[in-house]
Structure formats: C-alpha cells, structure tokens
C-alpha cells in the first residue's frame, strides 16, 4: 500500500526500492547457485592451482610449481595444446564453410527447403553422443565402412585411420565438420534478413554473383559469422567425448588425439593430481579468454552492425 503511494509521488527512485525484495527473492536460486557452483568453485580452483592435492590429504601449497612444470617440462601439456589447436584451426573454418555453402544453397525459394534443413541438421542433433563416437570408431577402422567404400570405388586398401597417429585426429575433425547443422541454421536465419532488393539493384548494375557474395552477402552476414566463429571456437576447446570414446580414454594412439580436456580429465580423475588439473583449467580459461578478446578486437575491423551505420 505504502509503496504504491510513494510510487506516485516520485516514480523512479521509490519504485526501484519497492521491487528490491521481490527481485532478490526471484533471484535467490540463481544467487545461491552462482555462489555455490560458479563463483565459489572458480575461486577455489584458482587457489588449488597453486597446490599439490590428491584428495586424500589436504592441499599443500607449492607456489607456482604447477605452472613452471607445465610450461617448462610437461611434454604432454604442450602436445595437448598442439592437438587442440590443430583440431580447432581445421574444424572451425571447415565447419563454417560447409554451413554457409549449404545454407546459401537452400536459401530463398527452393521447394522443400524446410525438409533439407531438417535433414542436414540431424547429425548435429546427436552432438557429442557416445553412440556416434562408437559408430565413428567402426567407420574409420581398418575394415570399416570408409575403407570398404575406397576399395569399392578406387580399388585401394586404406589404412586403419583411427589407429594411425598420422590420421586419427582427422577422423575427429571429420566428425565435427559433419555436425555443421547449428551454424547452418544460424546462417540461414541471417541470410533471410538480407533484403532481396539489394541483390536486384546489384544485378541491374551488372554485378556478378561472385561480386554480390563478397559485397552484399558476406558484409551483411558478418555479425552472424562472427558469432558462429566465437561460439564454435569455444565449443571446439571443450570437445571431449568423441576423443575419449574413440581412443578408449587414452587420447592415443601416441597421444595424437589427446585433447586438452582429455588431458585435464586424466590428470584429475585418473592420476588424482587435482592441484595440477586446476592449474590446467585456469590456463584453459586464460587461453579461451585471450582468444575471445582478440576476436572481439579484430571484429571491429570487419564486423559492422546495422545500427552502427
């Protein structure tokens, strides 16, 4: 009652106060969850990163030893970084290229567009599921489907792609690229917002399709493209299940599929080096943070939003 009257006399300030209590009540689950499961653990893992901790005895402060060891002596750390970056640098551009190409092929006035969209999206629906990793393991093994097809088409006997360290990582890249459905749908939504008149005007002026792509489609799609790059990059850093299932949890053969996350998992839950794993987690956080910041800075030069013009 009182609040209502106050609101009428000085609307802005007192209404603010009125909704404080309900605001915090509605927010209570989130605030509790944030403190218990996000902020608390994040700070705790920063602390643990400077300790030696095996779960059995209390954490033991060792200063920056975890980081010195990681950067100067830990070959597997550097290898995991290399594997992750090779994977990411191949997977993200290829996935986005397929996503954009297929989105453009099914954009505008093609019959059955919705059906195609659904069919191409199906693999992405299955995400990092174990079932798909199991299937992949069969497809790319020595007598798997891929080699059967190669034999049938070209008469060549292919190697066992998953047990050869030279090729094993690429089978995971193919798996990820196969699941290009999400960025494809996002591209499609973006393409549908580009006014058709732009293309009409351009073609009257004699612009080729190639030119229209570079001068109209790509610039107007830049915000969507940027979102896809950032999002897919973060996802690629987090990839875990396919590598785990296909390599039987080892990241093998000879660590060729040892993703950063897989290495972190092994350190934490196979060797119970919780302090070291926390340090690895924080290094990952910093790497992702730096990559995201850099892409935001770079985006100033190539991404322009509608309302900025």
């Amino acid at each position: 009652m009182n609040g209502v009257r106050k609101a009428q006399t000085s609307p802005a300030r007192s209404r603010f106060r009125d909704e404080d209590l309900p605001g915090y009540l509605f927010m209570a689950p989130w605030i509790l969850g944030f403190l218990l499961f996000t902020l608390g653990p994040t700070l705790a893992s920063l602390g643990l990163a400077f300790t030696k901790f095996d779960l059995l005895s209390p954490p033991q402060w060792i200063g920056v030893d975890n980081f010195t060891f990681m950067f100067t002596q830990d070959q597997r750390f550097w290898n995991a970084l290399r594997v992750t970056f090779v994977y990411l640098l191949l997977e993200v551009p290829l996935k986005l290229a397929f996503a954009l190409a297929i989105a453009m092929a099914m954009d505008k006035g093609i019959r059955g567009g919705d059906l195609y969209r659904a069919l191409f999206y199906v693999p992405s629906l299955l995400g990092g599921s174990v079932a798909i990793a199991v299937l992949w393991r069969q497809l790319f093994q020595g007598d798997g489907v891929v080699n059967q097809v190669l034999l049938w088409l070209f008469g060549v006997q292919g190697p066992s792609w998953i047990s050869n360290p030279e090729t094993s990582l690429y089978t995971l890249v193919i798996l990820a690229v196969w699941q290009f459905g999400s960025p494809m749908i996002i591209f499609l939504a973006g393409l549908r917002q580009i006014p058709a008149e732009l293309y009409e005007a351009a073609s009257i002026d004699g612009a080729t399709r190639w030119k229209q792509f570079w001068r109209i489609t790509l610039p107007l799609l830049a915000p969507v493209l940027f979102f896809n790059i950032v999002f897919q990059t973060i996802e690629a850093f987090k990839a875990f299940t396919p590598a785990f299932i296909i390599s039987g949890g080892t990241g093998g053969p000879v660590d060729s599929t040892l993703f950063y996350t897989l290495y972190l998992y092994q350190e934490a839950f196979a060797h119970f080096r919780m302090g070291y794993a926390s340090a690895l987690a924080w290094v990952l956080l910093v790497i992702i943070g730096v990559c995201t910041t850099l892409s935001f800075l770079a985006s100033k030069y190539w991404v322009f939003y509608e309302d900025e013009r």
Binding site: W30, S45, L48
Partner: protein, 289 residues
C-alpha cells in the same frame, strides 16, 4: 545459365536448370550426411558376420536378435540404464525451467538494485568453461557424500546454473508487452502473480524450447555421469554404451549398433515432434547473440 540460379539469385525468376542443380546438390548432400546413421540402423539388424562386408542400407531381414542380446549383454540390463537416464533428464528439465524462468523474470521485469551487475555476471558465466569449476565442485560433492548419486547432476539445475536458458528467456520476456504487467499491477497483482498468471502462460514457446534442449543435452551428456556415477546400476545410457564398447571390444558390433541406435532413438523422436521449436531455438541463439 546456372550462374543465375544459385544462392542469393538475381532478382528475376531462377532458371529451371539452376533449380535442378541445387536440388541435386542438396539431395546428394543429405544422402551423404545421413548414410552413416542409416548404415548403423541397417547393420543393427544384420548378423554379426555380415556387417563389414556389406555397405547396403537394406538388412537381409528385420531380425531383432542383436537388440535382444544387446539389451542384456551387460550385468545390468538396459531397462535400468534407460530409467536412470530418463529420471535424470526429467529432473533436469523441471529444475531448469523452474529456476531459469524465475531468474529471467527478475532480470526482464523487476527493477532492483544491483540488477545490471548481476546480469553482467550471469552473462560472464556463459563464457566460463566448466573445467574451471569442475574440481572444486567434485571436492564439494565428495565431502557431502553425493558421489555415485544423481544429486550432483540434478541439484545444481534447480539453482539456475544453465545461464544459456536464462538468457534465452530474458530475451523472450522482454518482448512481451509491458502494458499487461501494468494493467495487472493496477488490478493489485504482485510480482509473483504477474509471473505465474501472465508471463509464464505467454511464454510457452521459450519454456518448451528450454525444456527440449535441457532434455536433449542431458540425455546425451557423457562427461557429468562419467565423473559422478561409479556403480553400474546407476549408469546412464551413454555410460553403459561406453562400458559395452570396453567389454566387447570389436567383437559384437551388431549388438553395439543396436544399443547405439536405441540410445539416440529418443533424440530422433524429439526432433520429429518438436522440429520447429528446436530449429527456432538454434536460430534464436545466434541472432542478437
């Protein structure tokens, strides 16, 4: 000629040849995309010896032997794993929809001090890789005796830890006309009744989207159960599949494919039923992101 037909076609009518070329490309593409899945389905009906030599998508007969053998191949039957997976997924759906909609309502509609800072914090958690919180969370759950129960997988969801859904709902709630709230307020409705009787009933699409994605992601999740569940009787379907791979190696592909097919069957069912919501949800996450 086909130059006029492709994507972003030139204003005038696309040529027939161009349209056919696009259809050919799209059909060939979808066949290639779906072949591995269809082959897995077909192979799950083939006798063990016939799987590798056979690229065909038509099994010789619809013999359910692999399904029956696979279902009971581990010491605990897949009925149990299905129930475990289903229970976790349903609880996560309930938790996410309840807690995230409460939070999103506060962000979208209530004005309270510190709201902007809290919103910024919430957005930051979207970017945070779960690895950073993983180990302290594990230690916490270990200390309160929750390891090898489903609680670590479920309880946090009741505290709105999935910021993505909050974000999705805030976007949606903001799009609802404020006049409705104002009118209800004049009629003497408090925030709770506005949330319960006005906002929620109008927000079925976004609530359904959140529920569907919660279910799909939880159903597929491997990492969480891998860390928190130890006893085979508590395994989810993905964990059971992994145990199946480890125990049979490469000797029982037919059964393995049968169980893999069953593992992803609910996902397909969801897609058939809720295709529109799923696709719109994906598109929404990318626009205005």
């Amino acid at each position: 000629m086909s130059a006029e037909a492709g994507p972003g076609q030139v204003g005038s009518e696309p040529t027939i040849v161009g349209v056919i070329a696009r259809h050919v490309l799209l059909i060939a593409g979808s066949v290639l995309m779906l072949y591995p899945l269809l082959w897995m389905l077909a192979s799950s009906f083939k006798p063990e010896a016939g799987i590798f030599s056979n690229l065909s998508l038509i099994p010789p007969s619809l013999n359910p032997k692999n399904y029956i053998d696979g279902w009971n191949a581990l010491e605990v039957s897949f009925s149990r794993f299905y129930w475990n997976s289903f229970l976790i997924a349903i609880l996560v759906v309930i938790g996410n929809v309840m807690s995230c909609s409460l939070t999103a309502y506060a962000f979208a509609r209530l004005r309270f001090r510190g709201r902007n800072i809290l919103f910024a914090l919430m957005m930051m958690t979207l970017m945070l890789p779960y690895h950073v919180t993983l180990i302290p969370q594990y230690v916490l759950f270990l200390n309160i005796g929750w390891i090898d129960t489903i609680l670590p997988l479920v309880v946090p969801k009741f505290l709105a830890v999935d910021a993505f859904f909050i974000f999705l709902m805030v976007q949606f709630f903001r799009g609802l006309p404020r006049e409705l709230d104002e009118a209800a307020k004049i009629d003497g409705c408090g925030p709770w009744r506005i949330y319960w009787m006005i906002i929620l009933p109008l927000s079925k699409p976004v609530l359904a989207t959140a529920a569907i994605f919660s279910f799909l992601w939880t159903w597929n999740d491997f990492f969480g159960p891998l860390i928190y569940l130890n006893d085979i009787s508590r395994y989810t379907v993905p964990l059971a599949l992994r145990a199946f791979v480890d125990s049979t190696g490469t000797s029982a592909w037919g059964q393995l494919f049968a169980m893999s097919t069953l593992a992803i069957a609910p996902i397909f069912l969801f897609f058939l039923l809720f295709q529109r919501l799923i696709i719109r949800g994906v598109a929404m996450s990318g626009l205005k992101g």
